[in-house]
């Protein structure tokens, strides 16, 4: 590996907003390099640690698009606390699959799914615990400032590893042609 361990371990937060956890699966797909990554970084808020709130961090990896008020809250929390925010995968960068609902009215969709469909429960869920849906699904760079982007659906483990080690090593992150994918 070509990364010298930093003097102090970098803190990394990760989250999946409106995503499928495919990008997190890719992070696990770096396989035994996870052990090397663990020498370089320490995870803060992340599904890996199950920590629910974010402290001051160096890098945030955000998977998924922004589709409800909770996503906005989490995204802003990470932006506030992290020096470097990285959009990971098609949903975070372009809206991706969740954004396929953007061509229709959200009220119509809820009515169709929960009321009109055969076998539907007959009313739109309105429990106050449920976060409110936004009118549209947004890529994260339309809500907060984003520093870096890793395209792919999901980006491969190799692409994530290359990008992360570039970032941690203080180099401008680049992907080789085969790792640079939108699909």
């Amino acid at each position: 590996m070509n990364v010298r361990p930093p003097m102090k371990k970098l803190k990394v937060a990760t989250t999946s907003l409106s995503g499928c956890f495919g990008c997190h699966m890719s992070l696990l797909d770096i396989d035994e390099r996870l052990l090397e990554l663990a020498k370089l970084v320490e995870f803060d808020r992340s599904p890996i640690t199950d920590i629910k709130t974010c402290g001051p961090c160096d890098i945030a990896l955000i998977e998924g698009a922004v589709c409800n008020s909770e996503n906005v809250h989490v995204l802003r929390e990470l932006r506030r606390n992290c020096k470097m925010l990285v959009a990971v995968g098609a949903c975070a960068i372009t809206g991706g699959l969740p954004a396929q609902r953007n061509q229709r009215d959200v009220g119509e969709i809820l009515q169709r799914c929960y009321v009109d469909m055969p076998g539907a429960q007959g009313r739109v869920p309105d429990d106050p615990e449920l976060p409110l849906l936004l009118d549209k699904v947004y890529p994260i760079n339309e809500i907060v400032r984003v520093d870096y982007f890793i395209p792919g659906c999901p980006p491969s483990g190799d692409a994530l590893w290359k990008y992360l080690t570039d970032l941690i090593g203080g180099r401008m992150p680049r992907l080789d042609y085969q790792s640079f994918r939108f699909d």
Binding site: A87, A90, I93, T94, G95, G96, L97, A99, Q100, N102, Q103, R104, K136, P139, N141, E142, V146, Y148, F149, I150, P151, C153, R174, L175, Y177, Q178, F180, R181, F182, D183
Partner: protein, 239 residues
Amino acid sequence: MTDIPNSFNLDGEPIPFEPGQTILQAALNSGHFIPHLCAHPEFKPHGSCKLCIVVVNDRTGASCTMKALPGLEVQSDTPDLNHRRRTLLQMLFVEGNHFCPGCEKSGNCQLQALAYDLEMFNDHFTHFFQPREVDASHPDFFLDRNRCIMCELCVRASRDLDGKTVFGLAGRGRDLHLVVNSASGKLGDSAFAKTDRAARVCPVGAILPKEVGFAKPIGERKYDETPISQLAFTCDWEG
């Protein structure tokens, strides 16, 4: 009078040309790639996508419409021009609904391939998410306007080669869209046939053959391994 050789300089390299050729044609013929989307060797240049922007003797222009002349100093592969091309691509991506992970054309798409080649990491601009109509009325082809980039290649192919004038553009600004020449406006009711040249000319996934799908899997497609700049001027579905 001395003959001036039919040659111009592209990024410092001499490019020979035949009189009447455009800068883009001459460059591609000599194995030098200039990014382009709406240009195609079989059709008259359109000059609309502006991806083939070059600087000729300190003035910018579309290389698909500019005639090659002896002694021109042409710049193409420069950081500034590639940055402008990336911006044009980003505008195309946010204007349409280009959902690459779910697109059958992914890996064979020229728009995507140029974005790969020019390292377009994000779409930068605010997405339009404009509702666009999908037409599945034809037995052999889909017409998915979500992916259309208004290059008019199908319009030109249908009019100039097929002699049918099946396609046209209508509307302005963000309402600009592809229309079909039939009473119902549906592709299935038009004279469009799967043997048409217009059926195989779309650089993106707007005119898609049915029953093909992912026969060739993602990862083994035309631009998956090799950048478009090395494959140059080819545009067919099978790749």
